[in-house]
């Protein structure tokens, strides 16, 4: 028996009904680029470590020598869910695609995310316009 053409795989692998977290992040990256007319660019970088996949969403400022700020990170195992969303000092869990979309919506609407985008837009458009809050000094 000639086993050269032996293929033991199933005829198809079933329907893939879930969108990957990386794909959801890439859509947000694309949306950021479009919403800011390219003044800022979204970028997703993925890596795997010890069985965990990490996808980081960066905000890139092309006019600031391609400065990159990691806004958030989504991590998951070989299955897409549960996934963990790391954002600023917070960590959230998403148990399915709807959870992840809801968590990302919350994060991207947060004051911290707005602060980052506003500061980078401001700095990109006019380097002199970057301002800070007037806090009290501890000294």
């Amino acid at each position: 028996m000639d086993n050269n053409d032996l293929d033991l795989w199933p005829a198809d692998f079933g329907e893939i009904s879930t969108t990957s977290p990386a794909s959801i992040l890439r859509k947000q990256a694309k949306a950021l680029t479009e919403r800011t007319n390219g003044v800022l660019r979204g970028d997703v970088s993925s890596r795997s470590s010890q069985g965990t996949f990490h996808h980081s969403l960066y905000v890139v400022a092309p006019t600031l020598k391609n400065y990159k700020y990691r806004l958030l990170k989504v991590s998951h195992g070989i299955g897409f869910y549960p996934a963990t969303i790391d954002f600023h000092d917070r960590e959230m869990n998403a148990f399915d695609e709807d959870d992840l979309i809801q968590a990302l919506r919350t994060v991207l609407h947060s004051e911290e995310a707005k602060r980052v985008i506003q500061a980078l837009l401001s700095q990109s458009n006019d380097p002199e316009s970057f301002t800070e809050d007037d806090d009290d000094l501890p000294f």
């Binding site: 400065y67 990691r70 600023h88 500061a119 800070e132 806090d135 000094l137």
Partner: protein
């Protein structure tokens, strides 16, 4: 503010890196420059956990990659070798468990590798509050920062594990730990109520790639426990967090013009 200014004047500090500033950097800069004999500059940064003030124009200290815990600067001073300055203030041990701290350090290693790739060299220095001790796996592991205790090992550049190459950092902080080291036994004192307590911790560290070692003045590295006649320690001999800070300042010289 005055003790800090006194310190910068006394040490002729070219670069001042501060964590937990508790104020806007611009206001801080304004107050600093009212007292300093040589004015400092602050550079644009999204990161709010660690700030850099420099006597050289801020254009030479451009941020190229940042996360909420990391700020990587591409330092290009005139007629001097360029290098990467990575400033960190990683999550506190009080809020993040050991595996998560390892994860953060791995992220840091990835960010540094990407930055080194983008500038095309490995003259990299990492400094700040790591919230991890020099002997913890996150700092020592090849998949962490791969920071070793002797420059002889670090100068080999990298080592290969199961077909993958990992670059070294040299961690000179091993020389500053313990009672017999010059200066205080560590930079941060914390008495845990658990079975394991190190009491003195060396969370504030500087790590260097071997390519930067020729410029590093090893003898200059120290923790500061006194400013003039004032001690930064309490009568019990631990950092005076009420009047100054719960961390002691870390000082070192990087002599970019060899032969200075």
């Amino acid at each position: 503010m005055r003790p800090l200014v006194w310190l910068t004047e006394e040490l002729d500090t070219e670069v001042l890196i501060l964590a937990e500033l508790g104020a806007s950097p611009r206001r801080f800069l304004s107050k600093l420059n009212k007292l300093a004999s040589v004015p400092y500059h602050w550079t644009f940064s999204i990161n709010t956990r660690v700030h850099l003030f420099t006597r050289a124009p801020s254009d030479f200290f451009v941020a190229i990659r940042e996360t909420p815990y990391i700020s990587i600067r591409h330092i290009r001073l005139p007629a001097q070798p360029e290098f990467l300055l990575t400033m960190v203030h990683l999550p506190s041990q009080m809020f993040v468990d050991s595996p998560s701290r390892f994860g953060e350090i791995s992220e840091l290693a990835t960010e540094i590798a990407e930055a080194e790739k983008s500038v095309g060299h490995k003259r990299t220095l990492v400094v700040g509050d790591f919230n991890v001790s020099p002997f913890e796996p996150a700092l020592v592991s090849a998949t962490g920062l791969h920071a070793v205790m002797t420059s002889t090992i670090a100068e080999k550049g990298s080592r290969t594990i199961r077909g993958r190459s990992y670059s070294f950092f040299y961690n000179p902080m091993w020389n500053l730990m313990g009672k017999e080291s010059p200066g205080p036994p560590g930079s941060y004192f914390y008495r845990r109520s658990d079975h394991v307590s190190y009491f003195w911790n060396t969370f504030d560290q500087v790590l260097l790639r071997p390519d930067l070692l020729p410029y590093f003045d090893r003898k200059s590295l120290r923790f500061i426990s006194e400013i003039g006649d004032s001690s930064l320690l309490t009568e019990a001999g631990v950092p005076n967090s009420t009047e100054y800070s719960d961390h002691l300042p870390l000082v070192f010289d990087l002599r970019l013009q060899l032969g200075d």
